[in-house]
């Protein structure tokens, strides 16, 4: 009996080890880890054709689910595309390597200076990241149902719209709103201020229809809700699907978020990673991705190449610089503060 068990154990171990063996570092490949639906498949094929480098693409749906996979080294990714505060967390935890900008001529040429400047809030010396997409957070509203002006976060506390309001289901995005209404920073760490923000969210809860992430698109388009907190990139596609829906950035300010390309510390194809990032910054490639994605791009050369007028003249896709000047970007607040935000958010939800 024991012998059989031992034998089975050996067989199982053997199978599992042979599966992980045979490293692929020598092959001409690049491992890319990015948000779902964030790249047009066509651009990957073009990259493979031009360079002969095979792209292995994996996707994630939240920064938080990406982080452990990279930090545990489950797979050695070369290029990753996280958001601002997460890039800072990865720099702090020594998971990224500095980029060699001499190998990134297209990035230097095409990515707007202001986006590198804004990136300094999470990558102070602009050493680690190349912006790929950016946006703001605002309110999407149904202009047929909402007759008050939508220019302030205050409208999300208006009793008139009870049960017609959608909020984002994530601690930082949820707290950003009351903090901005209070005139505070969205990177607030003063616990007394956060407590006030929490009370505001609890007061708002009876008016909220649901706390959502991706569902916000469907619910806004179908008319299930009249006001929704939403990322500007999605706003463009939604307003094309339902013209009654308009997007507004409240006057109190909002989050200016940036998703950027970074190279992992333990990347095995550093050279290819740089080639990939630079390729994505080429205007002819960036425009394909822009058309597929609809998110605002930091690539200054793209607008001239966009053919669809609806996109080209959309203030959501190509906003006036005044809409995002002086806006704040999320910073990584440290593990302890992260946990504190999470805890407060949970208190809002169980109340």
């Amino acid at each position: 009996m024991k012998k059989i068990l031992a034998l089975l154990g050996v067989i199982i171990c053997g199978i599992s080890f042979s599966g992980c063996g045979g490293n692929t570092a020598q092959k001409n490949e690049v491992y890319v880890y990015t948000w779902g639906d964030y790249l047009d498949q066509k651009t990957l094929e073009m990259f493979e054709q031009e360079t002969g480098i095979h792209v292995v693409l994996d996707t994630f749906d939240t920064n938080e689910s990406m982080y452990p996979r990279v930090s545990e080294g489950a797979v050695h990714y070369d290029v990753i595309c996280p958001s601002d505060y997460m890039i800072q967390k990865m720099i702090d935890n020594d998971l990224l390597q500095p980029l060699d900008f001499s190998k990134l001529p297209e990035a230097k040429k095409n990515i707007g200076e202001q986006f590198f400047k804004q990136s300094q809030s999470f990558d102070p010396e602009n050493k680690y990241s190349v912006p790929y997409a950016w946006g703001t957070v605002g309110i999407m509203y149904n202009s047929k149902k909402v007759d008050d002006p939508v220019d302030s976060w205050n409208i999300l506390w208006n009793e008139k719209y009870k049960d017609r309001i959608l909020m984002q289901d994530s601690p930082r995005d949820a707290f950003m709103i009351p903090l901005k209404l209070m005139g505070k920073s969205l990177n607030e760490t003063d616990k007394a201020q956060l407590e006030i923000a929490k009370e505001m969210l609890i007061r708002q809860k009876p008016l909220v229809q649901a706390y959502v992430i991706d569902e916000v698109k469907d619910k806004m388009i179908s008319g299930e809700a009249d006001l929704g907190v939403i990322f500007s990139g999605e706003a463009l596609l939604i307003s094309l699907a339902n013209p009654d829906l308009k997007f507004s950035i409240p006057k109190e300010g909002t989050n200016f978020w940036i998703d950027s390309w970074v190279v992992a510390k333990d990347a095995q194809n550093v050279e290819n990673a740089h080639k990939f990032i630079d390729f994505m910054c080429r205007p002819d490639i960036a425009v394909i991705n822009f058309n597929a994605l609809g998110y605002p791009t930091p690539n200054m050369a793209v607008r001239d190449l966009v053919e669809d007028d609806e996109y080209k003249n959309s203030p959501v896709a190509f906003p006036d610089p005044s809409t995002y000047e002086n806006q704040e970007t999320y910073k990584y607040l440290g593990n302890e503060m992260d946990a504190y935000y999470n805890r407060l958010w949970m208190q809002v939800k169980v109340d």
Binding site: L8, T62, E64, A339, R343, V350
Partner: protein, 274 residues
Amino acid sequence: MFRSIGLRNLFLVPFCVWAGIFIFVPVVFIIYYGLTDTAGNFTWDNISMILRREYYSSLRLSVLLALVTTIVCLLLAYPLCLILVERAKSSGAIIILLFVLPLWMNTLLSTMAWQTIFEHDGILNQVLRIFSLPDLTLINTPTAVVIGMIYNYLPYMVLPLYVTLSKIDKSIFEAAKDLGASAWQTFWKVTLPLSLPGAISGITMVFIPALTTFAISALLGGSKLLLIGNVIEQEFTVEYDWHLGSALSSVLMIFIIVYMVLTFAFEQSHQEED
């Protein structure tokens, strides 16, 4: 059944390996994570978090909703099974098949269907409007979550009950009738005690998944209701705190173990009575 002990043991091997790898080892890991901090030192901190208001209230809500679901399932399933057993075997089996049919469909899919029924402009409200009745706001309420759970778990109550009830020897009922028992007495003294084992396994099969669900409450509760399953899921996926997530899972396991010990003790005492 097996004449040689060696042969019998050989057939046990797959199960032992399975139980070892997929039941024993994971449970050990969960308990280990639950009782350690990030540095790997022993601590009660994670377990004691359950006493914090936010965790405690989500656990209380979960137990409450699971209890309501179980009771409603039992009340719906018992009379149904009694009627089915009395009918001819064939038609009863068809109706049981109809009951099991929803299980063929993915839980997520059927729960999303409920979402479209309960929405503000959903099917339910559209039907109500046809009859000029006022709208019902069910989506994102505890009621919606309970209805979703009843729909998903009712078959697990019906099946064991039906099997147990249909196995009761018909001559026992005849004997009860011969000896002058009224219909009510027959039910109370004969049917009910004999069907208890089925009811208990039905209750177990409904109560435990209802207690731990996170998908149904996320879809029908609009994330406004936090059940303990949602909290645990968040600890693992969003907050990446495996220690706290494991500790909360362990607390939940304790609840389930206590429940199982109670039902076991109840069954034992019941058998002794017989």
